[in-house]
Amino acid sequence: MSASTVTFSSIDALHKRAAKVKAEQEKHSMEVLVCAGPGCIAQGAKEIYQVITDKLDEHKTALKKKKLEVGVQLVSKCTGCHGMCEAGPVVTLEPSHHFYTHVTAKNAGDIVEKAILEGEIIEKLLYHQEARKGGNTVKRYTDIPFYALQNRIALRNVGVVDPLDLDDYLAHDGFKAIAKALTSMTPEEVADEVEKSGLRGRGGAGFPTGRKWKSALRVKKDRVWVICNGDEGDPGAFMDRAIMEGDPYSVIEGMLLGAYALGATEGYIYVRHEYPLAVKHLQLAIEKMTAAGLLGDKILGTDFSFHLKLTRGGGAFVCGESSALMRSIEGKVGEPRAKYVRSVEKGLHDEPTVLNNVETWTCIPAIIHKGASWFSSLGSKTSKGTKAFSLVGKVKHTGLVEVPMGRTLREIIFDIGGGIIDDRPFKAVQTGGPSGGCLPIDKLDLPVDFDTLAKAGAMMGSGGMIVMDDRTCMVDVAKYFINFLIGESCGKCVPCREGLRQVYDLLDKITRGDGEMDDIDKIEALCHTMEVASLCALGKSAPYPVTSTIQYFREEYEEHIRDHKCRAGVCKPLIKYHINKDCTGCLVCKRQCPVEAISGEKKKLHIIDQDICTTCGICMEVCNFDAVDIISGGVTVTQQLEKAAK
């Protein structure tokens, strides 16, 4: 579909265009959606798109004969959200919801010639329920539990609309909310509606969005800024990335509504530079909207003006913290400020500023369009609506999951996510990124919303959900997060800068087997000071991964210290690799060993020289016969885990 070059001089003109585009699209009896996520692109999605377009052209007459009007779109559907990146490139047929995986340039033609023209189902390209084991095939993606159990609001357009095509967005009810606000709502009414919806900020702390807006309205000001926080830095979270890449117009429409409600004329979108595609799509969206009269002066012929700029982040996790983000937009080092004077009073350039994250902004158009009561009918008592999570780690179906608040962890991980890879035992789920905590198995029935997670010592955060199995060492996980935070701490305040360094030292000591029992107390005391006395949210929440693992997995810490044992076989100084009797003498490990620590001859048991071995684990990785064991604390970890798993 060609890009819109029309400039809408009035709201009527916008409605007319939307109706026209919709009518045109409805003529299509079929849509072919080719995934354009980085995974699929890397595996040749663009080529496939070309093949399908060419094939459709080639069979023009045949299609006409069958009265088939086919549209093709390259959509950012996958971006991890289907969790099918490994099954990519992915092609979806609409409206039949037929879903083909592992498409190649060679068999892409089949989709046109067989699936479209003949109406056949291409069996060999179907999705396998148990992806890695063969198992049942599924024809429609809507039948995959991963999708069937979801309720998508923030992700409503991701993978559905063409992120580069303004017309396509229009055809999917795009800009209806802003048109409604501009024609029939006062700014206060927009803010009221958002407040009534019960929407809470999706960025982490869950502050009620409507209340934030209302307090900004009460501040006397000459100018107010509206900012979208797209600096999604939590490792393991990519909801915002998917939205910015797949549905940039919704984000901007949300900001338009916010600007209208707050009387803002200028705004920023701050995007991580690690997301080049998101930057590109948002930039294009801004350009197209400006050309169409949806951004800039006198939007849609009304007196409402709003100018939007995009800034790329410089690669600092701490800039996800709002005050640091604002410093970064000002071109400064991203050091946070204390928030005793709220940013709605003194934010960007010391002027009143309303900042919300990508997911929050995306929800706004839906709320205005469908009404606050529709939104608040979903979710739990204190947390309304839905929340997108990125379900990753050792779970079968990884990807983006959006469910109403209040669903349990079990539903998300086992019903939607399909459980743990290889059906291993579940050990913990880490929510809320580096600021969150690890929850053990007995918290699985916890309903997920802002308050229950916080009570359990974890955190909603931006919505990362990392599933861990029995082969994950919790001390190592704590160490990983502290290490991450050391790299990301801005270094301004003492508890965070010095405290993290010391906590890491202590954790490292424990994972080396040199720990002492009172190190755990030392860590806890340090964590307490960091939590209460750090300057910003990063420092205050930095100890959660440690405190939660100590709270729920204390015995694992003690094992490391007392028995010099890592029960998951992860902590390198505490483990040894050993080749057992199952060795067939195939020489694969010997060849792969980077330090030549393995000796042995063909068809003879190989031996690892422990003095040379660097415990890199490659031998275990490459062994096809499960003949490499990990030994820790005098116990064969691998066997013990298998036993426990059974």
């Binding site: 600092a316 080092v333 400020r337 204390a338 005793y340 004077v341 050391i486 790299g487 990301e488 701490s489 801005c490 270094g491 301004k492 305040c493 003492v494 508890p495 800068r497 010095e498 405290g499 993290l500 360094r501 010391q502 030292d505 030392k522 005391a525 340090l526 000071t529 209460v532 006395a533 750090s534 300057l535």
Partner: protein, 264 residues
Amino acid sequence: MIKAVEKPVSHSEKDKTVRITIDGRSIDAPKGMNLLEVARSNGIDIPSLCYHPGLEAFGACRLCVVEITKPGWENWRKLVTSCLYPVEEDLIVYTRSPEVMENRRVVLDLQLARVPNSDVIRQLAAEYGIHDTTYTKRKDADNCILCGICVRVCEAVGANAISTLSRGPDKYVEVPDPEACIGCLACAESCPTDAIGWHEENGIRHIWHRDFELVECETCGKPILTQQQIDHFVEKSGLEERYFAKCDSCRKKETAVSISRVMF
């Protein structure tokens, strides 16, 4: 032009004082003034290492953290940074509660691990009962506690030569562009832990990897300041260069001479 008068305060603003309680004492303070200043001007000591009254509050050292609550919320207590916290009506403040003292101890312990050789920090830590750090001492430790005072002072002077580089535990203070330094020593003199080394010898001042030749007083020949300082001050103040030709003692004597000339 004249700054030396009290900042104009309108009557309505003047009335905006708030009554707060610090450690059980009832205190009237101008609304919006920071808690640290209110406490200190009332003789209540709150330790701090990064606060400087002439500079924008920074909030990095975390020593000035105090506990606050409000009447009727007694179960709710929160640690806040007193150098940044604007006072408000009815605030109840504890500057030496167990939580505050514990926090100060841990923070000083951490500082001591960072700068084990600093006398200032050793002394301060000793006041809180810490004579040796419980944590791992930093290797090759200098005395810098990253309080940021030097950076802010240099900014106030207008030279903007000092900056913190890198981030997290690797953060350090540096003059990345020695050319910008005017050698005024304000940073070194404001440093609470004397971490910025400098020395003067034979009319040469050495600071931040750079030698500055000192301009001598045209009357007595005493080295007074650097040419870079003169250039900077001339540009900033609009004063003529001749202002800087003599040392203050010689100028004072000159004043005496002119007085005598006028009078006799």
